[in-house]
């Protein structure tokens, strides 16, 4: 979300949380029009609201404002009552090459499930030497058991870095 404007970031995070504009407005004691103006970059939220807004949207104030502070969650096994629906979970693959290129792929777990269940291969992952040995179905099994966080971290000898995490 680094390249998003503040408004676009608020809108995207609100949608991720499945909140409507008026629901978010009510939680913050502001008018729905104010939220609409933030999201359309016509105005900015008051500084005193930011901590509460960030908390509701599940990010830090820094991440909300800059979009840069990417949280790398530690591996956590969620208790059964906190298990997320697999259709709302995301598999993030972040590849940082030694020459400064970054590739981020955010795949819905439901999509990967469909791919694996129908017997397809994951061409992008299979095509990468670094990721060839990673069994995506095992990662899905872990996700279904409520394990979230940074599940895989690979540092290659030539300086490339690959991280796979489930959110």
């Amino acid at each position: 979300m680094e390249n998003y404007t503040l408004g676009k970031r608020i809108a995207a995070l609100r949608r991720e949380k499945e909140l409507k504009q008026d629901e978010l407005a009510e939680m913050l004691n502001v008018s729905p029009q104010a939220v609409s103006k933030w999201e359309n970059d016509l105005s900015c939220p008051d500084i005193s609201i930011l901590p509460q807004l960030a908390k509701i949207l599940g990010v830090t104030v820094d991440e909300l404002l800059t979009g840069k502070a990417e949280i790398v969650p530690v591996v956590t096994a969620l208790p059964e009552e906190q298990h997320k629906d697999l259709s709302d979970m995301i598999l993030r693959i972040v590849v940082e090459s030694s020459d400064g290129d970054t590739v981020k792929v955010n795949l819905p777990i439901s999509l990967i499930q469909t791919v694996l269940e129908s017997g397809m291969e994951m061409p992008q992952v299979n095509g990468s030497e670094m990721l060839k040995s990673i069994d995506i179905s095992k990662i899905l099994e872990l996700a279904a058991k409520g394990v979230v966080g940074n599940l895989v971290e690979v540092d290659s000898a030539d300086g490339d870095k690959v991280r796979i995490f489930v959110e």
């Binding site: 979300m1 390249n3 809108a11 995207a12 949608r15 991720e16 499945e18 259709s87 709302d88 020459d99 400064g100 290129d101 970054t102 590739v103 981020k104 792929v105 955010n106 795949l107 819905p108 439901s110 999509l111 499930q113 469909t114 791919v115 129908s118 017997g119 397809m120 291969e121 061409p123």
Partner: protein, 82 residues
């Protein structure tokens, strides 16, 4: 679906917005499977349709989802949102 390409050298931005209905349908899925097969990726049209259906379902809940983001060291940027 939106595809945004920012070329830092030529300072040119390329924005392509494609209606989801145009991409995520049976005909497009069959076309895609044929294209991928000819490029060595083995995928049947049925499988491609299943992927399209799954993406459509996800899009309903997560509008403008950033599927792929590429940032090159020299400042080029590619972003594909659902």
């Amino acid at each position: 679906m939106k595809i945004i390409v920012k070329d830092s050298e030529e300072r040119k931005d390329f924005h392509l917005t494609l209606p989801s209905a145009l991409i995520l349908n049976s005909f497009a899925a069959s076309f895609l499977s044929r294209f991928l097969k000819s490029n060595g990726v083995n995928i049947t049209s049925r499988q491609a349709r299943q992927v399209a259906r799954s993406l459509k379902k996800f899009k309903r809940r997560h509008k403008d989802w950033p599927l792929v983001e590429v940032n090159s060291a020299d400042g080029d940027h590619i972003r594909i949102t659902l």
